[in-house]
């Protein structure tokens, strides 16, 4: 699936685009890294980034605004033991680079200059085309696409009162060179379409939302695809017009396939990031090899899925991404690592070193996190529940890594009564305990789906695009927070 690119091609192209344009030569890189490699420094790296983004927003049936942004700079980092010195500059110029290097190296006591390894171009995957997605549609066509979906969505249902739709693309070019010899480049296209609608019926108003995208050009958003998002947004809003208050208390919960995989991201994924486990602050610390889920559960973090929003050819430290097994048949197998935490834990990076931009330091982060399919038909799973809740779609979630407690918020959910879907219920938060929740998974569907390409993960103030997924799951006990009272 993952053919390997001749590293020189994209690397050479990126070097000329990023470095030559700024007048930065090889000996400048060596000087900057040399300035960083002092005393006890174990590793140092330079991260160059040039990105351009655009967005187009429609409201009231007209395209109100197009916006364009350019962001570029270099982040430099020196690591010694558990210490990190970091500085960045948004000027891509030799003096700024050297100044940042001097500032970052102040973390360690002065000493002998360390050695910088000869660079060895790292081969990354070729998971997406190294294109600039911005011009893959003419500006006229972008405007036309938004206008068309506005009128199509209003025609779907007369109760639609507001439509806000947006189209966005980013073209990010990164180049990493590190004292351990890693040198890698990546050209990362990313596009996204969002639509939100407000429907009104009598004095009731509800909102519905849908969207998608990935690492390709705008051609992905065919009229049929965009209409599909529009239909989904309207459907969700209309369902909620009839929603009744959600119950509260602990009950059987069935989670739908796809985006509800945000459960795994919160309950499991964050707690398995290497930094928290190296520091011993995660509820999963020291539990490799232990049972943390029922044997129906196998969960992976896979940065190598072609064209996915959470995928990367190489991570932000130049390490090729991988498919890492986190939980295998219920047993905890592995953590997600960046270089620094891997070094401190005596293991190797899993290609999960990510950063929001050059102005942020890398951390272990997820890519695409999902549970593999199981044996059960989704209808069979719902039919198995006498009384419970079926949650089909979610907003966001959050986790407290240390206590393991997590929440996620259902935006479309239904009562289950005697094996059948009942009335839709109002927005409700589900709360659980990460290290124990998957032990309560009693059925896993054969309908694995990944989300449509909308995930953004925030950690310590840094946002990165991610993916999630799962098949339909039955969980025998999660606490749901509605206003409709406990079930008797």
């Amino acid at each position: 699936m993952n053919t390997v690119v001749a590293p020189e091609t994209s690397l050479a192209r990126v070097r000329s685009q990023v470095l030559d344009a700024a007048g930065i030569a090889d000996h400048d890189l060596e000087r900057a890294l040399g300035a960083l490699m002092r005393g006890t420094v174990d590793n140092a790296d330079l991260y160059f980034q040039v990105s351009r983004q655009e967005s187009w927003t429609l409201e009231d049936g007209i395209v109100k605004e197009g916006a364009h942004s350019i962001e570029q700079g270099v982040g430099v980092r020196a690591m010694a033991g558990e210490k990190t010195g970091f500085a960045y500059s948004d000027e891509l110029l030799v003096p700024a680079l050297l100044q940042a290097s001097a500032a970052a190296s102040a973390i360690v006591r002065q000493g002998q200059q360390g050695r910088v390894q000869a660079w060895e171009p790292r081969a990354g995957h070729r998971l997406y085309a190294p294109i600039d997605p911005l011009p893959t549609l003419t500006d006229d066509d972008k405007v036309a696409l938004l206008q068309r979906i506005d009128s199509e969505v209003r025609a779907l249902d007369p109760r639609v009162k507001q439509v806000v739709a947006s189209l966005a693309a980013a073209h990010e070019v990164v180049l990493v060179c590190a004292s351990d010899g890693a040198m890698a480049a990546d050209v990362r296209p990313l596009v996204r379409f969002n639509i939100s609608v407000i429907v009104e019926q009598g004095d009731k108003r509800e909102q519905g939302y849908a969207g998608g995208g990935g690492r390709f050009g705008y051609e992905y958003f065919t009229p049929a695809q965009v209409l599909e998002y529009g239909r989904e947004a309207v459907r969700q809003a209309v369902v909620n017009l009839d929603a009744v208050p959600a119950p509260s208390g602990e009950m059987v919960v069935v989670l739908g396939p796809g985006w509800p995989g945000v459960l795994l991201h919160e309950a499991i994924g964050h707690g398995l990031e290497g930094d928290f486990n190296r520091k011993g602050t995660s509820a999963f610390t020291g539990r490799i090899g232990e049972r943390v889920a029922s044997d129906l559960c196998t969960v992976v973090d896979d940065g190598t899925l072609p064209n996915r929003r959470g995928s990367l050819n190489v991570d932000d430290e130049g390490t090729p991404t991988r498919n890492t097994v986190l939980i295998e048949n219920g047993i905890l197998r592995g953590y997600l690592q960046d270089k620094m935490n891997a070094r401190l834990m005596g293991t190797e990076s899993t290609g999960n070193g990510r950063r929001q931009s050059f102005a942020h330091t890398p951390m272990p982060r997820m890519t695409n996190t999902y549970m593999l399919a199981g044996p059960h038909h989704p209808d069979e799973i719902i039919a198995s529940v006498k009384k419970g809740v079926y949650a089909r779609n979610f907003g966001g979630g959050q986790v407290d890594i240390t206590s393991g407690k997590f929440v996620f918020s259902a935006t479309e959910a239904y009562r289950i009564e005697n094996g059948k879907l009942g009335a839709p219920i109002r927005d409700a938060t589900l709360v659980g305990d990460g290290p124990t929740v998957l032990n309560r998974v009693s059925m896993v569907g054969n309908d694995l789906a990944l989300d449509t390409g909308i995930g953004v993960c925030g950690k310590e103030g840094q946002s990165v695009p991610v993916g999630v997924g799962q098949p339909t799951l039955r969980i025998d006990g999660l606490t749901i927070g509605g206003t409709g009272g406990g079930d008797e």
Binding site: A67, I70, I198, Q207, A246, Q398, S409, D427, A428, T479
Partner: protein, 449 residues
């Protein structure tokens, strides 16, 4: 160190003014009928000490320029972090090109001339901190030590951080408005882990101020982080029930934050707010009065003018429970047939009047119920006001805290919650755009076992 950064900010002011002037001139040359530019420059550093050792030293230096142009009433925007002339020119051209694709929208344009700030009041927002990284590391070490030494059950740490930053913003538009002011922000924070019977809990404490002299001592902050964390050990689930809920000041800020989103122009115009058409109507209990005070000296959300150059001014937003105004920038103000309230970019210090009770008084009034320690998740529906979030906290009987509770949910509807406010404490938290004491709510649905 501080003289050097202060100097670079001053130089920055002149440079940024020039860039803003360049943008506006170029936009005019390219045929823009109106234009505005926002330039910013910031510098600072942060240190983190973990388990009594330096963990990170991070220097920051940010600059950016954002540009909006109008061709008639068609709008285009661009921003760049590259401030070299070529990049600026490319951005202005791009904004103009984008405007050509925008639709004619009569509400779109600069703020009305008569609304622009005529003078720029000195709000005491800039107090550079003469500290170098070594001294900051010492403060962070002291702070973390106070947390680690607070109780033997504090066994681990996410560390203590000290950060300082200075920034400068220059705004100009083709009405001839030019405004600029420097700001500083300094903070100390600490987060530790406590363990007991194989379970771990974490919590944190932080302080943030315009002037370093206004920060509490690092040891106080550390001890509070330790106290908060240890207090959470041994939490149990609650039985599902309905009970009064007390939001301590730190959490109460978020509760009032939901008001801000609901009365912002965009949400009202799109009707994605549970407070559509609520102007002049009671939306809170009659004991609630809220002022907006944009010119509070040294306050974190003070600003002499908003993101469009519109003068900010003090006003009563909620008077004895009745909603007296919205948060509007020019665009949505025009859409709603109203005037800008100087809130392009957000609210400037919402001061919630206390009803005079201390936190202990509020506990007594509540008698039996839940005190929130922490809320999780985004379970608030802005359109309907439905509210459902994960929570941890403390159970109260006879006006006294009994034991910690965890893995529960609280649910209600913001309309009912606002109307059900029973009291607002004297313990005002000033660490953000909302300044409020603890808030006692009449009742919420609590989901547990």
């Amino acid at each position: 160190m501080s003289t050097r950064t202060a100097l670079s900010l001053q130089n920055g002011a002149a440079t940024l003014q020039d860039k803003v002037n360049d943008v506006l001139r170029l936009a005019q040359q390219l045929g823009a009928s109106q234009a505005e530019a926002n330039a910013n420059f910031g510098t600072g550093f942060s240190v983190n000490v973990r388990l009594r050792e330096v963990e990170t030293l991070s220097h920051q230096r940010d600059q950016g320029l954002s540009i909006t142009v109008w061709l008639g009433h068609r709008k285009g925007s661009a921003s760049t972090s590259d401030l070299r002339p070529d990049a600026i020119e490319e951005s202005v051209r791009k904004a103009c090109a984008l405007a050509r694709y925008g639709a004619e929208d009569p509400a779109s344009g600069l703020a009305d001339v008569d609304r622009l700030a005529k003078s720029i009041p000195e709000l005491s927002l800039y107090h550079p901190w003469a500290i170098d990284p070594a001294a900051a590391i010492d403060l962070a070490t002291t702070c973390e030590a106070a947390a680690l030494d607070f109780d033997p059950r504090v066994t681990n740490s996410e560390g203590a951080s000290v950060s300082t930053s200075e920034s400068l913003r220059v705004y100009g538009n083709s009405h001839g408005f030019r405004g600029s002011y420097p700001e500083s922000d300094h903070s100390i924070s600490c987060s530790v882990v406590a363990a007991e019977d194989g379970a771990m809990e974490t919590d944190y404490e932080y302080a943030v101020a315009r002037a370093a002299a206004d920060l509490p001592s690092p040891a106080e902050i550390g001890a509070e982080a330790g106290r908060r964390t240890v207090a959470r050990l041994g939490g149990t689930k609650l039985e599902t029930c309905t009970a009064p809920v007390l939001f301590p000041a730190r959490v109460a800020r978020g509760l009032i934050g939901h008001l801000l989103s609901a009365i912002s122009g965009g949400a009202l115009y799109r009707k994605s707010s549970f407070l559509v058409d609520a102007l002049g109507k009671p939306v809170f209990a009659s004991r609630v009065t809220i002022d907006e005070q944009p010119h509070l000296l040294k306050a974190l959300a003070s600003a002499p003018f908003d993101n469009e150059g519109v003068a900010t001014s003090e006003r009563r937003l909620v008077d004895a429970g009745v909603l007296g105004g919205y948060l509007l920038g020019s665009y949505y103000a025009r859409k709603l047939g109203m005037q800008s309230t100087g809130n392009s970019g957000g609210a400037h210090n919402l001061v919630v009047h206390s009803t005079g009770e201390t936190f202990a008084d509020l506990l007594k009034t509540m008698h039996r119920g839940l005190v929130i320690a922490d809320l999780m998740g985004s379970g608030v529906n802005p359109v309907t006001g439905d509210y459902s979030r994960g929570a941890s906290g403390f159970w109260v009987e006879n006006g006294q805290i009994q034991h910690p509770v965890t893995e529960i949910t609280i649910a209600g509807n913001l309309k009912d919650m606002f109307l059900g406010i029973q009291g607002i404490g004297t313990d005002v938290d000033r660490r953000g755009a909302v300044l409020t004491g603890s808030i006692l709510l009449e009742q919420m649905a609590i989901g547990g076992s």
